[in-house]
């Protein structure tokens, strides 16, 4: 067993883990943060995407011990003071989900995408979420949701300039 310590959704978490324990299983099984999902076993689907030190990472590709000292945000930590994150809100408004299983990972990827590129083109959005599979939506409403979130932050930015 190995000692591990990381900050998850603002709280410091310390645990003894098997060195082979995947980060996604650490989050789901030991911290009960079951919003992060497992959709494959080859790191294709992106359902397990979380933010590690602000960057989107597939948490099935990382051992828990590799996250030593890291700051992690999962889907449960995205809303603040019960206020949805704008990306969450736009997924809701634009019907960006159906069964909802891929959604947490998709939202985390979208958050990372908009952090890198606040005003992406449609092609950039499609490219930006191409590491996340959705089998329900055909992606169009997801793209709409991310565009909507971008335009909101864009208008917020331009209004704050004024």
């Amino acid at each position: 067993m190995a000692a591990v310590s990381m900050t998850v959704n603002g709280k410091v978490r310390k645990a003894q883990v098997e060195p082979r324990l995947l980060l996604v299983h650490f989050l789901r099984e030991q911290l009960n943060l079951t919003g992060t999902h497992v959709g494959c076993d080859t790191s294709q689907c992106g359902a397990c995407t979380v933010l590690i030190d602000g960057r989107s990472v597939k948490s099935c590709t990382v051992f828990a011990v590799q996250a030593e000292g890291a700051t992690i945000t999962t889907i449960e930590g995205l809303a603040t003071n019960d206020a949805l994150h704008p990306v969450q809100e736009c997924f809701w408004e634009e019907h960006g989900l159906q069964c909802g299983f891929c959604t947490p990972g998709m939202i985390m990827s979208a958050v990372n995408l908009l952090a890198d590129n606040p005003q992406p083109t449609e092609d950039q959005i499609r490219e930006g979420i191409s590491g996340n599979f959705c089998r329900c939506t055909g992606y169009q409403h997801i793209v709409n949701a991310i565009q909507h979130a971008a335009s909101r932050s864009g208008s917020a930015a331009s209004s704050s300039k004024r």
């Binding site: 079951t34 497992v38 959709g39 947490p104 089998r135 992606y139």
Partner: protein, 787 residues
């Protein structure tokens, strides 16, 4: 007098889904999120050969591992569980949840490990060794039909799961065949189109794979089972039957379900094993399917070969159609396996008034994963064969593909239309849908655009296809599970509404659409309504969500239960208002006498009175809770027209979809936003099949597209923006006039894409290309002998 805000009508509006807040915050409960104290974990050892006899299994090393609680071989599981059941009337081979002496496909379970933790269970699986006597395997159904190189089930000679079954013109119900009409059609024809087509095998791939938690409580003698299923009531029935419990002793729960697409209708061996092992050990057990496991262990879709012959006059009028179908059903019959290809026979008329049709169907066992329902289930296959043949006819006659279809449509005044295949189409206006698509896509403009692109040397093509679909599946004569649905509506004491539905959703948004309907019916805010589903402990009865039936059948049932309780509530209100029931209106959270709004009683006050009725009106029982069963008299038959534009790179053969326009007619729409989402999803799966998805087996029976690294599941970058429109032709089959929409997108899209590819490559003289459109295949057509 209560002052209430005016509530807008919600049916027909783009209402945001009520399911979403929990899903976007990661607070929903999927089956892998269910934890029970003391729960153990199951893993399956699976065959790595496609066909073989088990000489021996050594489980000793696994049993010796710390944390391993039990290991079961097939023979030991056979002591706990009977043979796998099926729900179709076709004869089926013996099938065990865990193989006892022979394995017949890669992925077939051969042993079960129960351990304290999932990692240990996996380690233990790897510690089990199985010695197989390898037998020849067969993966090609047309080879398997010859009985060579192997017979998979000795009691089914030549591997014929279903020997040739004829249907259509001149075939009577008792199987007598008269060829006069079909022979005449082909004799009178000016042109005959003949083509072998393959509607290839797909892997459904819901992003949540399957999973089950079984919790038998010995003290109570009852079982609770959570499963990622489309139909918890069918699960309850089957689990009870297989474990020897009564249906009253089993509670089945479909928690949040991460997609199904038909593959979660079937009740699987893993569900029976989990239940039996939990009962045997007296403890809760969990099994969660890995993705690689899902590729092998969850049923596949399609895999139907069609030999299509179309006879027509020179003016484009079709005289006759023959289709010889060969279905590769894989190694065993699952619950509905044998029935799925019959839906392709049933829909052979497609949208057309064809004087003579003859289809035959043969189903064949191979050493592959079983097929079963996959989004569309038989209807996309029929649509593909017929629409491709219509396109070939148009090309042969040098007619516009739209005009060939127009010549053959069933006319609006012919509905209800009795088809040659035994279906009765409820309602339709195919020309209206096609004209709407031609106009939305600007068909003439697209043709000009294509021609201009060709003049520059680009390979650009257009595709057009029609479809007609079977949805809202019922009545009971068409479904072994019963073709009805159940609902209960309760007005609670505080005036809020609890409703239950047997339609168990997995992404369809029924919590929203059903609440929209009840909100309008009772004139109350949608926020005051809760829709319960997916738990047989709460929802008394149900059939489930498949065959695009949840709105048309489940929604109707809910409204019927609502109408019953509304009638009763009106009597209580009439008592309070000293008015006649006929004069009451339910609106804006009140019940009032028509034309006298000042008389209004609050909805909640009438509800409270119904539970403490002093005095109790004569002849009435207290309380407000009513249930309904509804069975439609017929299926519904939605339809539509799809148009696409596709370009193929002359140098690489790579196809790019430039444009996709869909006009779908699903009857009346409850929530157009949700309907659009359903259409988009169906299109994505159909376009995925046409362009990139394919389950490929090698000759030894190994699935070589057995992971998401090898099987091309569509990504966001694979699609252009879909343009989706609708026409509205209500169905007379249910009072909502709603037809169903979940599967529609998979029907029109495959022939539409392939026809566009054929059009793009027309300069090379190609008339048909089998899916999927692998660039290498297209490159070889472009570069001919230079391959």
């Amino acid at each position: 007098m209560p002052t209430s805000p005016v509530l807008p009508k919600l049916v027909g509006q783009r209402v945001k889904r009520r399911e979403d807040p929990r899903l976007i915050q990661g607070r929903a409960t999927f089956v892998d999120d269910v934890k029970i104290a003391g729960m153990l974990h199951i893993a399956f050892k699976r065959s790595d050969v496609a066909h073989g006899r088990i000489r021996s299994i050594d489980t000793s090393a696994a049993e010796a591992m710390e944390g391993v609680e039990a290991v079961f071989t097939g023979a030991q599981i056979a002591d706990l569980l009977g043979p796998m059941p099926i729900a179709t009337p076709f004869p089926s081979p013996a099938h065990r949840a865990v193989a006892v002496d022979t394995v017949r496909y890669v992925g077939e379970p051969v042993a079960v490990v129960v351990a304290s933790d999932r990692y240990i269970a996996r380690d233990a699986i790897d510690a089990i060794t199985v010695d197989y006597e390898t037998l020849p395997a067969v993966v090609d159904p047309e080879l398997a039909m010859t009985g060579k190189p192997t017979v998979i089930h000795p009691e089914f000679p030549n591997n014929l799961a279903v020997p040739l079954v004829p249907s259509g013109t001149g075939v009577t119900l008792d199987g007598k065949v008269d060829d006069t009409a079909i022979d005449r059609a082909f004799k009178d024809a000016d042109v005959i189109i003949t083509q072998r087509m393959v509607n290839h095998r797909l892997v459904p791939n819901s992003i949540e794979a399957r999973g089950v938690v079984a919790h038998y409580e010995p003290g109570k003698g009852s079982m609770t089972i959570w499963s990622s299923t489309q139909n918890p009531h069918i699960l309850r029935t089957m689990i009870a039957a297989m474990t020897g419990l009564g249906q009253d002793q089993v509670r089945a729960i479909a928690p949040e379900v991460g997609g199904g697409f038909g593959a979660k209708i079937n009740i699987y061996g893993e569900e029976y094993v989990a239940a039996a092992v939990s009962k045997h050990l007296g403890t809760a057990v969990k099994w969660i399917e890995d993705r690689s496991e899902a590729f092998l262990a969850t049923t596949h879709g399609r895999d139907l070969i069609g030999y299509v012959e179309l006879a027509a006059q020179r003016d484009g009028k079709v005289l006759g159609l023959k289709i010889r179908l060969i279905a590769d059903v894989g190694a065993y019959n699952m619950l509905l396996t044998a029935a799925i290809p019959t839906l392709a026979m049933m829909m052979a008329n497609a949208n057309y008034d064809i004087p003579a049709i003859r289809t035959t169907l043969t189903e064949v066992f191979t050493n592959k994963t079983s097929t079963d329902a996959y989004r569309g289930a038989g209807r996309p296959e029929a649509s593909y064969f017929i629409e491709r043949a219509m396109d070939m006819l148009a090309r042969e006659l040098k007619m516009d593909p739209a005009e060939v279809r127009r010549k053959n449509f069933i006319a609006p005044n012919q509905f209800p239309y009795q088809t040659q295949m035994g279906a009765v189409y409820d309602s339709g206006d195919y020309e209206k849908a096609m004209d709407a698509a031609l106009s939305a896509a600007d068909w003439k403009g697209l043709q000009a655009e294509r021609d201009a692109a060709r003049a520059e040397g680009r390979l650009v093509g257009l595709g057009l296809s029609m479809y007609v679909e079977v949805c809202g599946i019922g009545p009971s004569s068409s479904l072994p599970t019963g073709g009805w649905e159940h609902a209960q509506v309760t007005i609670e004491r505080d005036g809020r509404i609890s409703a239950t539905t047997g339609a168990s959703p997995h992404g369809q948004g029924n919590e929203t659409t059903f609440a929209q309907m009840l909100a309008d019916e009772f004139g109350v805010p949608m926020e005051h309504i809760t829709i319960h589903h997916g738990d047989t402990g709460i929802v008394k009865q149900g059939v489930g969500t498949f065959g695009s039936r949840s709105q048309a059948v489940g929604g109707t049932t809910l409204l019927m239960a609502g109408a019953k309780v509304k009638t009763k509530m009106a009597r209580f209100a009439a008592e309070m208002l000293e008015a006649s029931v006929a004069d009451l209106v339910f609106e804006n959270g009140t019940i009032a006498v028509k034309g006298a709004p000042t008389s209004a009683k609050k909805f909640a006050d009438v509800a409270a009175f119904a539970y403490v009725p002093v005095p109790l009106p004569e002849g009435m029982e207290p309380g407000l809770s009513e249930e309904a069963f509804f069975e439609p008299t017929n299926n519904t038959y939605p339809f539509g027209c799809h148009i696409s534009m596709l370009e193929i790179d002359r140098e690489t053969g790579e196809p790019t979809l430039l444009k996709f326009v869909a006009v779908d007619d699903a009857g009346n729409l409850i929530n157009p936003l949700i309907v659009e989402g359903q259409i988009h999803g169906g299109l994505a799966q159909g376009i995925g099949q046409a362009m990139i998805e394919e389950a490929v087996y090698d000759e030894s029976g190994q699935l070589i597209t057995g992971s998401l690294m090898d099987y091309a599941l569509p990504r966001a970058t694979d699609f252009p923006r879909f343009e989706v429109h609708s026409t509205v032709t209500p169905t007379p089959v249910n009072p909502l006039g709603a037809k169903g929409v979940g599967e529609a997108g998979t029907l029109g899209s495959t022939p539409c894409i392939v026809s566009a590819a054929v059009d793009a490559l027309s300069e090379f003289g190609v008339t048909h290309i089998d899916m999927m459109l692998r660039p290498e295949k297209l490159w070889r057509i472009i570069h001919g002998g230079r391959a």
